[in-house]
Subunit: 302 residues, 2 copies
């Protein structure tokens, strides 16, 4: 089970019962928190997120609507007597702010908080058994990163008839699943493709944070299963979007098309829009497989 | 019109649809914000608080549940292009945190933010035409202050029959209202009490923040019209309350009795209690004029 649940889909000013950015990516039993705008812990209560399962938190950038909920969440973990270490991947200056906040509150967290500043050029942040998380720079008014959640390549499927035909021992099956060739006792090489077929496709989710329209990170998101892209404005405000280093629904759809993603999810809607239908219709004209990020909804990455 | 509206009535861990501490004190057209826990600006939307009317914000102490909503509120004022200056009365280290947060966000507020660190021993913070606000130290795990909102003495009422009898000129009426005596042309002194009666009682609201049970600030709150006192626990957890520098409902009521207040308002309820009825009954046994601080409710100070 690979999915993303939206906790906040609005841009900076909370309005229309919409909240600042926060998402929970779930993979099997693991939860990853992406951004943590003000009120995230309250949204977690509302949508019954099992917050104790979160081991990694990612903060895209240091505009408040993406992290003002974090100090409260970290404190609440402490009040709940969390013991498991927590890994925070965030822009480097955040640590000083958190340190100061803990110091003035005279608070000692009962769990280890490991702070990992995101490298300027991004890179591999998390390497779990079945999934990895990469950061990549996007283009915003201040340093900002997107995150790619990618399943590791899945084992190739064995063609049992062929394996028996070639008398390949079962002890070698794991290596065949990983893609290795096999050498028969007489020296004949059996190419992997002769005895296996590709495993299921590896799924991926790209969160593109806050960004101006740019193709600069296209290589990072190409072919992803689900692309989340901000759409702060409709295309009628394309210039304002650019001035503020944001994107429009149409631009998000154009990028989805170029990235050859399967599906597009739009979020980070400006408070100036009470209704969101036009975001959907505008984007679908360019990229039909578009959905709106709705708070409390869970989107399967499949 | 003098009243307080509750935006958050819970202690640190938001639960049971209760939020961390925040209150809006209204006096005529002026609004004062007292504490600003996470989600305060969202609660303001919900309860239709006219936030542009807030000129002074008071932060009692630097535990997150009393100020983690402040950076978001200050930023939102900026996004709404607020122009009026804002006065922030708070423990001194808060300024460094806010400065850092604004710096990393590369944000320049479009309005003047005047930071006034609360003096260690408290004192007069705000002196408006009809109302003044004082801080007084309470006793908590870290430095913490309560706030007293007090109407200035109201003008004495003129006894028109007597004024005519003594032929006191109307130009002297303002001085009579302020309590001065009058000297007749023949040198006779007319004592103020002969020609006036006391004006209406001056009303006051005392917010006692987070505190252990103590009578150390009794003089600051004596005779106030409405006393807000924290009641994190029921009296069955009196020891835990003391360990954590908090109070129980019964203790709050005992202090209300000693302070000879008219009414008591209880808040800052621990998340361990889902229902709040027992807080009310426990306190009312000692001090009958007790109410629970309920989010969205407005309590008249009269």
């Amino acid at each position: 089970m690979f999915a993303v649940t939206i906790l906040g889909n609005n841009s900076a000013l909370p309005m229309h019962d919409r909240h600042p950015t926060s998402q929970v990516v779930s993979y099997d039993e693991n939860l990853f928190l992406v951004d943590c705008g003000e009120g995230t812990q309250i949204q977690m209560n509302k949508f019954k997120i099992r917050r104790s399962r979160i081991k990694h938190i990612f903060i895209s950038h240091l505009h408040g609507d993406h992290y003002f909920g974090l100090p409260g969440l970290l404190t609440s973990y402490g009040l709940n007597n969390r013991q498991e270490p927590l890994y925070l991947h965030a822009p480097e200056p955040l640590m000083e702010i958190l340190d100061l906040q803990l110091k003035v509150a005279s608070t000692q967290l009962p769990y280890e908080l490991h702070f990992h500043p995101i490298p300027e050029k991004g890179g591999l942040l998390v390497n779990e058994k079945k999934i990895e998380v990469h950061a990549f720079p996007v283009i915003h008014r201040i340093p900002c990163w997107g995150f790619l959640f990618r399943e590791k390549p899945k084992p190739r499927k064995l063609d049992m008839d062929r394996l028996i035909q070639y008398r390949i021992p079962s002890s070698f099956y794991p290596r065949l699943k990983a893609g290795d060739d096999y050498c028969l006792p007489d020296g004949t090489l059996i190419k992997n493709e002769e005895v296996t077929t590709p495993g299921p496709e590896s799924l991926s989710y790209a969160f593109c944070a806050d960004t101006i329209y740019t193709e600069s990170f296209l290589d990072n998101i190409r072919g992803c299963t689900l692309l989340y892209h901000e759409a702060t404005y409709l295309d009628s405000l394309r210039e304002r979007a650019a001035e503020r280093f944001h994107s429009t629904a149409k631009q998000a759809a154009e990028l989805a098309l170029k990235a050859e993603t399967n599906q597009l999810l739009l979020g980070h809607f400006s408070s100036k829009y009470e209704g969101l239908d036009e975001f959907l219709s505008e984007a679908r004209e360019v990229f039909p497989s578009t959905q709106l990020a709705i708070e409390g909804s869970c989107y399967s990455i499949s």
